[in-house]
Symmetry: C2
Subunit: 500 residues, 2 copies
């Protein structure tokens, strides 16, 4: 254990999760590690949930506010939601139990840009009482080496009065050296971030912590929530093909080089299909300035196609997570894990000039994108980093199948029922039917391009809507507000967006 | 004239506007100077409009694409729109004739973030054939000293094959030294912008230009479109008072200091009322990192309350414009005019930590903001820099009267009919009835705060909507899509949003 807790004084702080949970009072705001199912605390959430159940059974109030990096896992967000232990949650989640609690108004969720969360804490908009952080190791000086995600660990430990560290022996000690920890000074002393290339290292491999604040250390030995990726299906492969066609067109137009494409990519099967496509492409020296390292990037690194990937977290399949743990000392030559305020910082994103590619729930015919609320009301996961990247990228693209729910839902609609990325920011939308390049186009000129990538079964409906909209008095952004949500209303009433 | 055109070779390029207009072919993309009615070309637009009329009378096609900094004036956007001389226009306009042409589909307009326009040209997304730039002076080396706005002059002259300079003798020679010209290297060579405080000067007082590209110089002597500000009315003063209450609350919360508040402000009578309020406040060493210098800022500078203002342009009343021309050599100690890519750059905006304050058309009950399209369809002016600042500010606020059109329109609505700033970005909304601080709140918790600042005549209607929305199945963002646009539909059908 002294290998994992090199600071002698802190070895005396080891205790059970149940004991550590006593530091978390009713009403506390807890800043946790964890991002896309990696690096979240494995023991404390269950211990907190158990405590909540006992308090509730005894007739006492017990709810906490939970901040994380991004999504966690059933044994973190899931158990807490099921125990009715959360009052307020931010900035991102994807757990089914938690989603149910959010949408039934049993708990409050605020959907915050991932790059903003740590900043809001630094600026004292949100106070953090206790930080619960998974780590690989505590150094002799008492500094903390994060595990498979950095997230907002720096800001939460800085702001918290008390820190609880989970030392997870499942996480490889060789992750040490992969992290690059750099903290923005607080206002009014902010400085330029000295990153000009995705591979630049500017900080330390550990988080400096005041060891006096560490009140408990809990030992765990559990894997991250590593879900296998599904093999790419036909539609994912078509979307990936269309995305690669778009990249090729950019090369042909002289706006992109085969050497040095900088990628940002959302997580999922379609992005993984894109990466598989890149393996066989003419692109070389691919770099990622993104928030998550997924299987496809590891393949690109293995092949030599990708030279460096900067992110804040992993989101790997069990097989790839095992490989990462085994070979971390090799991969850390190519992978950098940064605080999410830096991995997603508008300054760096704008500077390095990346092509952002994110999924979506729906786009309207003008390129306004809904990433978060199904039919405008039901929260899926949250905006995540998609706004950080979309708003500041060299080129901002969205990828999605043209339909969902066995064709009952069209992902191209007349009016997006929630708007997370505006027509000013989204540039290219890609489905299995092609890509709609909206750059340089007035709103009316975007419509035909968007309808052309809609599913053929929905094109006539969309055209009918647009013809009705063109009968309006003002034609900059033609709309018929009386039927703007007709697709969504039909879905609610008849179980399908199809009007036949 | 040699004082204004110090380069001997270029003196031979002086010609009439009619002659210079011959360099602008049908289909050309013309990058013009001009921002909020300052520094736009005074002669070429009319000459181009006359040429268009002649060509049209002769049965020939003649339309051009016009890019500017932002809005211009009747003798620029107005004459061109009236002559049906424009195919495509970006990134911002506010001329009544042009607005009419846009909304009748007689011309195309793309509403682009002001910080993005120059970048899109630099990156070759949009080609510029001819640059038409108003200047104070051409130096001996052939470099160009801009006039009362910098806008996208650097990027347009860089990209254009041909440059036409208008030397406007109305503009004071003493503006020289007020500008700070710094150009971001093109990708992949971008670097950190070395500005950490609004007052930092990092460039040259002139724009470096290849004199070979200057094909014509036209002499003018005309004032900018300087419109008088209306005296503040009761509602503007109440809004300003509520804004100052908000600032005081931030000071009380320890998140703002009386020393060194950094302001960004949209243009108009309400912002001017805010600045008048600041004159009598406890705030000192106020700084502006904004896009436009308006009368109220000049008063703050005169009073010693404001130490420095960084912008890309003026927007002054005739009286203040006269004073600026007379005393430019004094004011340039306190005023810096930058390229709009820098005045509005997300990197610098985020770094300096400003409080952004912009107007709006409407906000919905969750804090989604419409800045551009009335009833979702009719373009007013455009998003301007509001997105650049809102997305990256320390605190982002919107100010507006609670009603428009003599009470027929509520500026707080169930669902914003166009969304330019999302609920993820807008933090505080202020009307004459108070301020709604939406920070840290889940959507449901924002509704009561928004209804409390709506006009009392509309509060019951908004509450009825929300009660209906709460009957839905998914309650993260409660909405009743069937009546989400009921306010707007009622306005279209009955001339008022009131449902009585």
């Amino acid at each position: 254990m002294s290998e994992r807790i090199a600071n002698a004084a802190l070895q005396g702080k080891v205790m059970s999760a149940e004991e550590a949970a006593q530091f978390i009072d009713n009403g506390a705001t807890v800043g946790m590690s964890g991002f896309t199912g990696a690096g979240y605390p494995k023991a404390l959430p269950t211990a907190i949930a158990e405590r909540a159940k006992k308090e509730h059974a005894a007739g006492n109030d017990y709810k906490i506010n939970v901040l994380t990096g991004a999504s966690t896992a059933p044994d973190c967000d899931g158990v807490l939601a099921e125990a009715d232990a959360i009052n307020y949650r931010a900035p991102y989640q994807s757990d089914p139990s938690m989603r149910k609690a959010i949408n039934s108004a049993a708990m409050k969720y605020q959907d915050i840009h991932l790059s903003h969360m740590g900043m809001l804490v630094q600026q004292n908009f949100i106070d953090v009482d206790v930080a619960v952080i998974e780590a690989v190791r505590i150094t002799e000086e008492g500094n903390v080496v994060p595990s498979s995600a950095v997230g907002n660990n720096v800001e939460y430990m800085d702001a918290a009065d008390k820190i609880i560290i989970e030392i997870n022996e499942w996480q490889s000690l060789e992750l040490e050296g992969m992290h690059d920890i750099w903290e923005m000074p607080k206002l009014p002393n902010r400085v330029p971030i000295p990153i000009t290339k995705p591979g630049d290292r500017i900080g330390t491999p550990y988080i400096e912590v005041d060891p006096e604040k560490i009140v408990a250390i809990v030992k765990t030995d559990e894997a991250d929530r590593n879900a296998p990726f599904k093999p790419a299906d036909e539609i994912s492969e078509k979307i990936a093909g269309n995305f690669l066609d778009f990249l090729e067109a950019e090369v042909a137009a002289g706006r992109l080089s085969y050497d040095g494409y900088i990628m940002q990519s959302g997580v999922g099967n379609v992005p993984n299909a894109v990466m598989a496509g890149l393996l066989d492409s003419k692109f070389n020296n691919i770099q990622a300035y993104t928030e998550v390292i997924q299987d496809g990037m590891v393949d690109l690194i293995d092949s030599g196609k990708m030279t460096v990937a900067s992110a804040t977290s992993f989101s790997l399949s069990p097989e790839y997570a095992h490989k990462m743990n085994e070979e971390a000392s090799n991969y850390r030559e190519h992978i950098i894990l940064r605080p999410q305020q830096i991995s997603n910082h508008p300054e760096v994103i704008r500077r390095v000039g990346l092509i952002a590619t994110n999924g979506m729930i729906e786009s309207d015919i003008y390129g306004n994108i809904n990433s978060t609320n199904v039919s405008g009301t039901r929260m899926m996961n949250g905006i995540g980093g998609s706004g950080d990247f979309t708003r500041n990228a060299y080129i901002s693209s969205f990828i999605s199948p043209s339909e969902a729910k066995d064709g009952k839902i069209s992902t191209i609609v007349p009016f997006a029922s929630h708007i997370d990325h505006t027509e000013h920011d989204a540039m290219v939308v890609i489905t299995e039917y092609g890509y709609a390049d909206l750059r340089g186009l007035a709103p009316r000129d975007r419509v035909a391009k968007m309808i052309a990538i809609a599913h053929p079964d929905y094109r006539a409906q969309l055209e009918e809507y647009y013809e009705r909209a063109l009968k309006g008095k003002a034609l900059h952004t033609p709309h018929d507000l009386g039927t703007a949500f007709s697709f969504h209303i039909n879905l609610a009433e008849n179980g399908t967006m199809r009007l036949d």
